[in-house]
Amino acid sequence: MTVTVTRRAEEVRAPRRAAAPGGRRRRRLAFVATHAIAIAVALMFLAPLVFVALTALMTDEQALTSELWPDDWNWGNFAEVFAKSDMLRWTLNTFLYAGLGTLFTVVSSVPVAYALARFRFRGRRAAFLLVITMMMLPPQVIAVPVYVLWARFDLTGGLWPLILPMLLGDAFSIFLLRQFLITIPREYTEAARVDGCSDLTTLLRVILPMARPGIAAVALFQFFYCWNDYYGPLLYAQTNEHSWTLSLGLATFKAFHSVQWNLTMAATLLVTAPVIIVFFLAQRVFIEGVTLTGVKG
């Protein structure tokens, strides 16, 4: 299996119709047609976000009508979300979960991926296939005994049952890192070994600097995973409102503010915004990381 990395936008322009006999007119027609379709689809993709934003700025009365454009721009709605709910606490909890979770995952998954990518030992392939199996199996399969385990330690009702296991590696992150590490030419690590570096120094001095984009992608994915996670917090933290994350809070937001679609939409935007901002700051890392998850024959 090899890893493909998305090419930059300039290379995307693949002029397929080099030998088309129709000439310039036809090519211009094709140009207009494809771009018109692209613009239409792009508008459809953006429309939901635009309507959510417009509703978030309406008064609660107007949000209940069928009007699409806000009469007044109620920017205060965002402040009201914080005033009327525990949004601030949910945000802090989410940062705790996502921050620690990401840190733990990266620290624990890099060594494992290193071993899978660079060491030759019996059962290496079996170990890798096991990682993929763990990655694919639904989390609900093992939910009952794991819940019982955490209940025995009296840790249910909080986020620790979600954070602590990340100290022991995360299958998806291991998989992704391994895919990235096998693209690093063996010559580099073997040269280091011949020079007398230990496994640890090879990892720290040779692998880590070269694997920075892969690690960045894994960290981002894990952060987003935790940020978005609903099932985990629902299972462990639903009963304790002090531990609610943004996803739990948002899921019940509408129920507590039932006639205030404007506030619900404002909260929705607030939960979404950080993710979008991070994406624009680290777009390249992201797209390359997504591509890593695909297999190429």
Binding site: A9, V12, V41, A42, M136, P139, Q238, L246, T252
Partner: protein, 313 residues
């Protein structure tokens, strides 16, 4: 690595297996505590009645109940619907989008970003947004349809339309898949298209005879993972039911997943409800094993794909 001399491995290759074990140990511990043990434990619980406090052996009763539990079959039918309609819709749509992007000459980066963006929207946020947008009374979606003279249904409130509504949501968030397909399409050697064009193949023929065979491993991979994710389908359905029905599920009020009329019930939700709301953990373990068996079938197919892909390189 043919460069090594078999007879005398370098000094640093010695004891490699043991050293690998050391590096793998965090994950091996995790595997034992959070995978092997719970799996065995689930089998054990499945023969018991268990509510976190009392454990009572009941033999095969939990398994027998499976056949009387209508909600199991309801969720199986719903999942089948997702596999048959939602997964193909996603794959085909993502491929079409990726194709579209490769044909663009201006604004490629912009369009790619716009198509990718919705897949970043947190699942809960995206689902809450769609329930609002497709709300028949106040949402803009049906009003846009009305402009074209179409009377929109009560999307998330109508058992017949709830799953199609979620399919639209899934298609909106198809960006990840599109990026993967885009990379695969760009990896198809250009000269193959040129050769096909010289042979007089039109765009459709080129797509069928060059593009599809070349990207089929990626397509296969996406389809299988799509099915596995469909088996785990939880968050979107749960949130849609919850928001559309207005249930709170806070102070002990009962919220039964699946609204409207069980149309959005999936096995993971039924398992969650059974195990962690009704605290019938023994029976929930049976459901978990069912989920395990079905996802394992597709995981094995996926592993075979992987092995085949590795052999090719």
């Amino acid at each position: 690595m043919a460069s090594h001399v078999r007879a005398a491995p370098p000094r640093w290759r010695r004891g490699e297996g043991l050293r690998a074990l050391l590096w793998l140990s965090p994950w091996l511990t995790g595997f034992t505590i959070f995978f092997a043990y719970p799996l065995a434990s689930t089998v054990y619980f499945s023969f018991h009645r268990y509510d976190l406090f009392t454990l009572e052996f009941v033999g095969l009763d939990n398994y027998r109940y499976l056949f009387d539990d209508e909600r199991v079959w309801l969720s199986a039918r719903n999942t089948l619907w997702l596999v048959v309609f939602m997964v193909p819709a996603q794959v085909v749509f993502a491929l079409a989008l990726a194709q579209l992007v490769t044909r663009l000459k201006a604004g490629v980066g912009l369009f790619r970003t716009i198509f990718y963006l919705p897949s970043l929207v947190p699942l809960v946020a995206g689902t809450v947004a769609f329930v609002f947008l497709m709300n028949p009374a106040t949402g803009p979606w049906n009003q846009l349809l009305a402009l074209f003279g179409v009377t929109g249904p009560d999307w998330f409130g109508d058992p017949a339309w709830a799953k199609p509504s979620l399919t639209l949501l899934a298609m909106w968030g198809v960006g990840n898949l599109m990026v993967i397909f885009l990379a695969a399409l760009l990896d198809v050697p250009r000269h193959l298209y040129e050769a096909a064009a010289l042979d007089g193949a039109g765009p459709w023929r080129q797509f069928r005879s060059v593009t599809l065979p070349m990207i089929s491993p990626v397509l296969m991979f996406s389809a299988i993972t799509g099915v596995i994710y469909a088996l785990q389908y939880f968050t979107q359905a749960m949130i849609a039911s919850r928001v559309a029905s207005g249930a709170t599920d806070s102070a002990g009020t009962s919220f039964l997943p699946g609204y409207p009329d069980g149309a959005l019930l999936t096995l993971p939700q039924h398992l969650f409800q059974t195990g962690f709301r009704d605290w019938s953990m023994g029976y929930a373990s049976v459901l978990a094993l069912m989920l395990f068996a079905t996802s394992m079938v597709f995981t094995l197919i996926l592993l075979r794909q992987f092995r085949r892909a590795e052999e090719l390189t």
